[in-house]
Amino acid sequence: MMGQGRLAAWGIGLAALVALPFVYRDPYHLHILVLILIWSFAYTSWSMMGRFGLVSLGHGGFMGIGAYVTALLWNHLGLSPWIGIPISMVAAGALALIVGYPCFRFRITGHYFVLVTLALSGIVLQVITATRDYTGGSLGLTPDRASGNKLLALQFDDKTTWYLIALAVWLFGIVVWHWVDRSMARYALEAISEDEDAAAAAGVDVTAEKLKITLLSALMTALAGAIYCQYQMFITPDTVSGIAVSLQMVFAAIVGGLFVSLGPTVGAIITILLAETLRIGFGTKAVGWDNLVYGVLLVLFIIFLPKGILGSLLDRLKPQRKVPRAHEQEAVQIARPGA
């Protein structure tokens, strides 16, 4: 499927990305890059579902579970993140199945699905805040500093190590995206997003296919949360969970482009640079401004550039793409599920 030229471009790009921290060592810029990579991975995880019309506002919940379960197991039970992260992913996956199964089995789609997942986000946030004796509540949580083996505790002081970890995780997300894109499951999910009855008549187990992609997406999002926690060494309910984080995922994925593998990455670059610019330029006066800008941009994008920046750009560069599978209508439908 992938042409030689494209493969070469990916290879060169990756080599440059790996080499970057050894050549360029500005800690602030590396920090921004690490954040972009981690959030790109989270947005890519969201878009695995989102591109098939399964718009979830519950992913803040999965991310929060990934971050908090990992940190709590470390702080209270002394469990290494190497074990804690898989446990947190299993927890997020289990929650995804518990919420997803009844939704898919009883055909809760479109707006109603969005509302159910919105509630999920809210509930996770509430649980974190309510169990403040363990989680620190809205004041946040800091994983205990490792006294012994840094590798065992997955705590590193230098940015280069983190940059490489984040790069690997991000690359993993892109590879999974392509793997799904080239699988028969993509056909099934595209079909389901258009017409569930017709998909079932083609032999597709609609509930199972939706559950599988939801599970995959939730597991990856939890991993993103755990990695974020290990890197930042400080999490609050608002930065890794809740509705704001969920909305940010939707925004970034749509702005970057839902139907291309690097779309969410472009979305992450834009959102993080925007937030940083506002933070540096206006300081505390601009708290929350980024959300305002997101909101306005989201409306503009859905109306004028529904395929997102990267999606539209690629269309422009290659006017005769072999299969026009990302119609404008599609993106609008995702932005307005059920329409």
């Binding site: 028969m184 017709a198 079932a200 008549a201 083609a202 032999g203 599978r325 119609h327």
Partner: protein, 255 residues
Amino acid sequence: MLEVNGLVKRFGGFTAVNNVSFKVDEGEILGLIGPNGSGKSTIFNMLSGTLAPTSGSILFAGHEIAGLAPHRIINSGIGRTFQIPRPFRRLTIFENVALAGFYGQGRHSRARAEEAAERSLAMVGLPTDRHASVDGLGAAGLKKLELAKALATAPKLLLADESLGGLDEAEMDQAADMLRNIRDELGITIIWVEHIMGVLMRVVDRVMVLDHGEKISEGLPSAVAGDPRVIEVYLGTDAETTQAAAAEARRRAGG
């Protein structure tokens, strides 16, 4: 091959299908006719699992399939088309059919699915080109695609739902011949739901007539076309043309 006994479907207080029983033999083409709202599509939806029957049994190849999930019924060897074609527009024509070939045959291998897609597309006369878009198809093409999707699931029994609506006369004849070819060449048993009586009568082995959810007549096309109850409830809506159709049907069926 298929044995339906005492099939009932109620929607609230409305009985859409009332105690219908019938049998379909292997290699047969059974025509299912009736006016709008007579319960034809409801029966189809129960046979294919889209709706669960209120009561009654559906035995397919000796197994009870009433109330099973659609994908399990499709995998057990029943394929269906929809009255109004429901293509997946985000996929190419080939991908539409390959999807059915993959999931409809129990997810064997991609190679097998693509092989099934090529065969089915060739059978109905659509291009096997992998990049052709669904948007290029007209009414007749969409119906062919619908049929190709059903064939790709490798059915033993094909449920063809009003596959001729919206076609001109030449296309209708062509489509009717295609259904017969499918039976003759692939040995697939067919239940065919149709409004247009003349064409149907020419191809089917047996006809069953529904009215208000009940079976009112069943038998050879020539006999059914002459049944006064059928003429009254089904054909009576437009006496002149339907009398002519009945006469034509009798003539074609050699009655």
